[in-house]
């Protein structure tokens, strides 16, 4: 190995580094390393003149490697590697020593901070001594995308991507697309009918030549990486051919099986053969295999007998479909916090205590009561309704610590819808604070209070129980300090938004991170809000955090733009930092084959062979090999040993 000529560039970062690290001393110590041919300090190395000086220094001093001691590599590794390339040397010969986040910002003692900064810098200088020049591997991009989840987020993302001319596979678990928004009656703050806004988009999805719609389907397995994912989708059988079904409804009339209707949040019942909504897309019935008497003409077969279109096929089988896509958008939405957790509010066992979505179905013209607000227990019009906000939200001791963001607004909307349906009724709202940030939102809440004469009570409800055919609500009005007792005909709980079951499942399949509350984690809270940490996987809607429809649509559009930008490239550069076998040292023991999580290593002729297309460069193989015969490029065992030594040098 010829001796390297390394340049070390020490950044002051204004005073961010220089205040607690003696940068001159760091530069001087690095100059003492025998491979360092040049050192320089500068106040802002990432500024235009700073970057130029790096390029110039590489050229003038014939440097072949570069170490920049500055901030985290997440910020400027790419910046300086690009500069290395501009100066004519390989970009993988440039490494960052993080002396800001991991040093100057966390240690006030300048002597100790300087000592640590020197150790960090020296370890990276030693590492770079053995860095190889590597070329990024260009891989072809599959110019197709997948959107997982067919709610408003997924629909919007799919349409935006498809309108750019890129084929989209939209996968939805349920029998229809539309998601939670399809269950809503009206939407705040304009009180447009939710279905009137959403249905045309659903039809557009169905008709779009670039969208392949897969409903009643689950994503089972995802392999590959950015640009080239392979997704296995399990398409459950609906036993009804959607192309033949005329949605004439004859089958439901004869079906003898009655089960709770989950689309109506169990407020009504449905048959074993059913259509979730009249406006469902695809417009077709679905036969619920679990509820059906047995898909066997000998046992029942009534639906098949009456189907004039011949759409019902008991022999239809589930299938597994493999889709190759370059990018994935996760839009798996939210569920409501389980009422069973709210023991003080009855744990879901008190009649006429509903959740917000159930109330939406009561208000909806397509819902259980055809848009008449009737309480479930006796189908009478409720004259006094209590709405309770923050149920399960903002309660770090017992429930969810976060604010679910939309409940203040939808409760105000519920109160207004209720007054529209029952003009002589009385609405009460228990709240902690009103959070109505958004265009037209505050005005909306004010109108609920003033025009609709809704009584807002600041305080929490301590108990709910049945009393004389009503629900007794015990609470406190903290503004007057009075205890409040209301005998309500109906109570509506604004339950917290939690990640949907599908969100939890898909995070495991995709191996993408979730935050402390279980929502999908974004790559950066401010600068990369629609990207997951994994390249090529993007986030949209309430799977990432509680959000309302306008925000969801905006985020879905942003995710689509990211997908379009990614898939507009003919090829992508894949990191060349992958495993490499030293054949002379390999004994063919096969331990690396066992250790590899990506099945990227196999034995061939008694030696380990790495499949470069599958290797992700995790290094599990290297840590397992007893003879140091396999290493990740530029993170070799030899390099780590030398870094350890540098960290401990006195």
């Amino acid at each position: 190995m010829t001796k390297k000529r390394t340049g070390v560039f020490v950044c002051h970062c204004g005073t961010n580094i220089a205040a607690t690290v003696d940068v001159a001393k760091v530069a001087k110590e690095m100059a003492g390393e025998n491979t360092v041919a040049f050192t320089q300090e500068y106040v802002y190395m990432c500024s235009e003149p700073g970057q130029e000086s790096v390029v110039q220094a590489i050229k003038d001093n014939k440097l072949d490697s570069v170490v920049v001691t500055c901030c985290s590599p997440n910020l400027h590794e790419k910046t300086f590697r690009d500069n290395a390339e501009r100066a004519g040397i390989n970009n993988f010969t440039c490494e960052i020593a993080n002396i800001r986040e991991q040093c100057s910002w966390v240690h006030n003692d300048k002597a100790k901070g300087t000592e640590k900064a020197i150790k960090i810098s020296r370890s990276v200088v030693r590492r770079v001594n053995r860095n190889q020049a590597l070329d990024a591997v260009a891989v072809n991009v599959t110019r197709r995308a997948m959107v997982i989840g067919g709610g408003i987020a997924g629909i919007q993302a799919a349409l935006d991507i498809a309108n750019a001319g890129i084929e989209v596979v939209l996968v939805e678990k349920q029998a229809t697309i539309g998601g939670r928004m399809l269950q809503l009656s009206e939407t705040f703050p304009t009180l447009d009918c939710s279905q009137c806004v959403l249905s045309p988009k659903m039809v557009e999805v169905k008709r779009h030549p670039k969208i392949k719609l897969m409903t009643y389907s689950d994503v089972q397995e995802v392999t590959g990486s950015v640009g080239n994912f392979r997704v296995k989708v399990h398409k459950r059988s609906t036993f009804v051919d959607p192309d033949k079904c005329k949605i004439c409804d004859h089958c439901t009339v004869v079906c003898p099986v009655v089960v709770p209707n989950e689309y109506e949040l169990n407020l009504t019942a449905r048959r074993a053969i059913y259509i979730p909504y009249a406006q469902a897309i695809p417009a077709s019935f679905t036969l619920d295999e679990d509820a059906c008497l047995g898909l066997n003409p000998v046992v029942c077969g009534k639906c098949k007998d009456v189907c004039e279109a011949g759409a019902i096929d008991y022999d239809m089988r589930s299938q597994t479909v493999v889709e190759d896509v370059g990018a994935i958008v996760v839009a798996t939405g939210f569920d409501l916090y389980d009422q069973a957790n709210m023991q003080e509010l009855g744990g879901g066992k008190i009649e006429d205590v509903l959740d917000g979505l159930q109330f939406e179905r009561l208000c909806s013209a397509s819902g259980a009561t055809q848009g008449h607000v009737l309480r479930p227990s006796d189908h009478k019009e409720p004259k006094e309704v209590v709405f309770i906000q923050c149920v399960g939200s903002r309660d770090p001791a017992k429930h969810c610590a976060y604010c679910s963001k939309i409940c203040c607004m939808y409760t105000a909307k519920h109160a207004r819808l209720y007054k529209k349906h029952v003009p002589d009724g009385r609405a009460y709202v228990f709240y902690i604070d009103i959070r109505s940030g958004g265009k037209g939102y505050e005005e909306f809440v004010q109108r609920t209070m003033e025009d609709d004469d809704t009584l807002y009570l600041r305080g929490r409800v301590s108990k709910l129980y049945r009393h004389n055919g009503k629900v007794r609500v015990l609470g406190t009005d903290t503004l007057t300090g009075q205890n409040v007792e209301i005998d309500a005909d109906m109570v509506v709980l604004a339950l917290a938004m939690v990640p949907s079951k599908g969100t939890t499942e898909i995070a495991k399949v995709l191996k993408i991170g979730r935050d402390k509350d279980g929502f999908m984690a974004e790559a950066h809270p401010k600068l990369r809000p629609v990207e997951s940490v994994t390249g090529g996987i993007y986030l949209a809607g309430a799977a990432q955090a509680p959000k309302d429809i306008p925000e969801t649509v905006a985020q879905a559009g942003a995710a689509a733009a990211k997908v379009i930008a990614l898939l507009s490239q003919a090829t992508l550069n894949r990191s060349p930092l992958i495993a490499k076998v030293r054949r002379s040292h390999c004994t063919g023991c096969g331990m690396c084959v066992e250790a590899c999580p990506f099945i990227a290593i196999r034995l061939e002729g008694g030696k380990a062979v790495v499949n470069e297309a599958l290797c992700e460069g995790c290094g599990s193989c290297s840590a397992t090999c007893l003879r140091a015969a396999i290493d990740v490029k530029n993170v070799t065992q030899l390099q780590i040993y030398e870094m350890i030594e540098a960290c401990l040098a006195v």
Binding site: S72, N74, N98, R100, E101, Q102, C103, W105, V106, H107, N108, D109, K112, G113, E115, K116, K119, I120, S123, K511, G513, D515, K516, A521, V533, T534, L577, A595, P597, F598, E616, G617, C618, G619, S620, S622, A623, T624, V632, V635, Q637, I640, Y641, M643, I644, E645, C647, L648
Partner: protein, 144 residues
């Protein structure tokens, strides 16, 4: 080390790139102060940390070695931290067997969202190492 100086344990901290290194970055961004005793080495994954690295650090005079990675189940490479956990358990047993305090080695799970936890892990480790004094059982002569 002169006699007047207080003993400061020297720690090598192996951090995985995806979680704990990002977590230590967050500690920085949040300006959470912690002792400067641990020098970080960022690796792709805790699964890439050979037990030999840990022994090598002790050989070269480390008073403590920290390995920190993604929480179990959250590994970017699917199962690297499971592999690490198994190996690190053996390291603890090996250290005990050869007469080195197993407390000189520590493993923690720090996610990219846990800056404060990272600072606490290092602070606690330094405090726990101080009563043990310098590690010289495995230290090679040329490194004294």
């Amino acid at each position: 080390m002169s006699e007047q100086q207080v003993y400061e344990p020297r720690i090598v901290a192996f951090l995985c790139k995806w979680c704990s290194s990002a977590g230590s970055d967050l500690a920085g961004v949040s300006r959470i102060q912690y002792p400067a005793n641990a020098t970080p080495i960022t690796v792709p994954c805790t699964g890439a940390i050979s037990p030999m690295y840990i022994m090598s650090a002790f050989n070269k005079g480390a008073d403590g070695v920290l390995v920190s990675g993604c929480h179990i189940g959250d590994c970017h490479y699917i199962e690297g931290n499971y592999l690490a956990r198994r190996k690190m358990k053996l390291i603890m047993e090996l250290l005990e067997f050869i007469g080195v305090e197993p407390n000189r080695f520590r493993m923690s799970w720090v996610s990219a969202a846990e800056g404060a936890k990272f600072a606490k892990v290092v602070t606690d480790f330094v405090n726990d190492l101080k009563p043990l004094g310098p590690q010289d059982k495995l230290k090679k002569a040329e490194h004294t």
